[in-house]
């Protein structure tokens, strides 16, 4: 099976600090993959290297077999990778519908078409009743759903989610988990989740990749990884 996304030896430095060192892994079509690790492990940097916000200093990123290393964020999106932001970045002075329309315009010039898409994706993420609210008036959780709906409207093959659970209540985390499952099952979109809270991402993921100090230290099924000694040490520290 050929991979949807492949990283080969990706390295990213900021001055003397190596944020990612020689990271290699694959994400296959139809998977939910968790990218986990303690704070400062380099997850967000790696995420930004995939999404086109950073250009890696070494290594390659392939999407559907195509070398996309150093591509701009907008180009990456057009190829079929969408992302959400850890700190929500919604267009506060636009309505929910208009926010999602910006995403839908990725594939069309027609305003009426984009508006229909916005209704469909707005409803899918649970904002069907708030399409004409200003995005700035939404709660944090709703703004996160909006980011998701907006990203989905670009019709991605791969969805990258950065710390989607941070700041949510238990009930909201539950609906987020359900939503992510539906994205995979109903829409057939592959999902890569960056998360540092292990207990949420473990049951949700088909596979997890663990980063520590910028390096991949483990990869596999959640139950295997959670027994891995290096992972336990990274999270709990040395005895």
């Amino acid at each position: 099976m050929s991979a949807l996304l492949s990283l080969r030896g990706v390295t990213k430095r900021f001055g003397g600090l190596v944020a990612n060192r020689d990271v290699t892994f694959d994400v296959h079509e139809g998977e939910i993959v968790g990218l986990i690790g303690p704070n400062g492990a380099g997850k967000s940097t790696l995420f930004n290297c995939i999404a086109g916000y950073f250009s890696p200093d070494g290594g390659k990123v392939f999407f559907q077999g195509r070398d996309i290393t150093g591509y701009s964020p907008e180009k990456v999106t057009h190829l079929g990778i969408a992302r959400t932001f850890q700190i929500v970045k919604i267009f506060g002075n636009m309505t929910v519908r208009e926010n999602i329309m910006v995403g839908a315009f990725c594939r069309t010039w027609s305003v009426s078409r984009a508006s229909e898409e916005a209704e469909a994706w707005g409803t899918f993420v649970g904002l069907g009743g708030k399409l004409d609210y200003m995005a700035g008036e939404l709660t944090l959780a709703e703004q996160k759903w909006l980011q998701l709906g907006r990203a989905l409207a670009t019709r991605p093959r791969l969805l990258l989610m950065d710390e989607v659970f941070a700041g949510l209540t238990q009930a909201e985390i539950k609906s987020a988990v359900n939503l992510i499952k539906r994205i995979k099952e109903e829409k057939g979109i592959t999902v890569l989740i960056v998360e540092h809270v292990m207990d949420v991402v473990m049951p949700l993921s088909d596979r997890v990749i663990v980063l520590d100090n910028g390096e991949k230290i483990a990869e596999g099924k959640p139950e295997e990884v959670s027994r891995d000694e290096r992972v336990i040490r990274a999270y709990l520290g040395e005895e």
């Binding site: 999106t77 636009m94 910006v102 508006s115 990203a151």
Partner: protein
């Protein structure tokens, strides 16, 4: 492709009331010179419409895309100088000069926009000041384009083809009115198309816009292109109307700032804000000039400054925001 699908026109924008409102406004402007027959009030409306037009042009880049330019005089000057130089040196019709100037300003805006858009916020505003001043100094020092003494347009037969009507101000009024309406319609449609959505998204959260596939550099350039194009048309109009141009009158930093102040006062990013802002500020500056005479130069700017402070503190959305709140 279904063309009507390209624009989001809401029903409430096309109802009878807004149609009557618009037609009424146009009718008033058309009838104005027959009510006010003296040159001064006619000149006043022409200047108001010229600055409303320039404000509209600025608003495409500053209001929609959120890129504050303090150098728009360079496009105004390019329009004024291109048509004038083409006419003086080659006898080219000012109408052709108008198109040439607009196109040249558009091209220049793309060339200068490429490095400038790498800068954000204040830094973008600062580099536009620098580019504006480069044009100002360049034209003041190159004798081939008139240098510091400027250029006079000769007296011609009064005709539409010559874009010259002597002391008759009515044709000038109608021409600038059509320019203004053209720019307003362009913004109305642009704002309701994919481009408008993209510009507002860039304005609001550029990183998020890019994550949704918005090529922000490209769309900012598109906004700057249209903005420069219209501004240059205003420059050609000015040259034909005043028949004398020199660097201080068409390339001055104060002109750039005046355009921005008008839009801020009227309402940044609003369709009729520039008209409202110009209708307040232009008479203000004309009257202070008259009543305070030659020594009064600059007093209008003091009042401008005070108004801006008051608006920034109490009414950041401008006069249009005030009108909207009343509804």
């Amino acid at each position: 492709m279904n063309l009507t699908g390209l624009f989001l026109i809401r029903k409430e924008e096309l109802n009878l009331r807004s149609l009557l409102f618009t037609l009424g406004g146009v009718f008033l402007a058309l009838a104005y010179p027959f009510v006010f027959r003296k040159p001064f009030p006619q000149d006043l409306l022409i200047k108001v419409l010229l600055f409303a037009f320039l404000g509209n042009a600025w608003n495409i880049l500053g209001g929609l895309a959120g890129q504050v330019s303090l150098g728009h005089a360079m496009f105004f000057g390019l329009g004024a100088y291109t048509s004038t130089l083409l006419f003086l040196n080659f006898g080219v019709s000012p109408w052709v000069g108008l198109v040439a100037g607009a196109f040249l300003a558009g091209v220049v805006s793309i060339i200068l926009g490429y490095p400038s858009f790498k800068l954000k916020g204040h830094y973008f505003a600062m580099i536009t000041i620098a580019f504006g001043e480069v044009f100002h100094i360049l034209f003041r020092n190159v004798d081939a384009v008139g240098g510091a003494s400027g250029l006079f347009l000769p007296i011609l037969d009064e005709s539409f083809g010559n874009f010259y009507f002597g002391v008759n101000k009515i044709p000038y009024l109608y021409i600038i009115l059509s320019f203004y309406l053209l720019s307003t319609l362009t913004i109305f449609l642009l704002d309701r198309s994919k481009v408008g959505f993209y510009l507002r998204a860039i304005n609001s959260e550029e990183d998020a816009a890019r994550s949704l596939g918005v090529n922000s550099a490209l769309y900012k350039s598109v906004a700057m292109f249209f903005s420069a194009l219209f501004t240059a048309m205003g420059g050609t109009f000015y040259a034909q109307y005043v028949t004398f141009i020199d660097p201080p009158s068409v390339y001055h930093l104060m002109l750039s700032i005046q355009i921005v102040l008008i839009v801020i006062l009227g309402g940044v990013g609003t369709l009729f804000g520039p008209l409202v802002g110009a209708a307040v500020l232009i008479p203000l500056s004309e009257f202070t000039r008259i009543y305070l005479g030659g020594t009064g130069r600059g007093y209008d700017l003091i009042i401008y400054g005070l108004l801006i402070i008051v608006f920034a503190v109490y009414q950041p959305t401008g006069l249009m925001g005030l009108i909207r709140r009343r509804k």
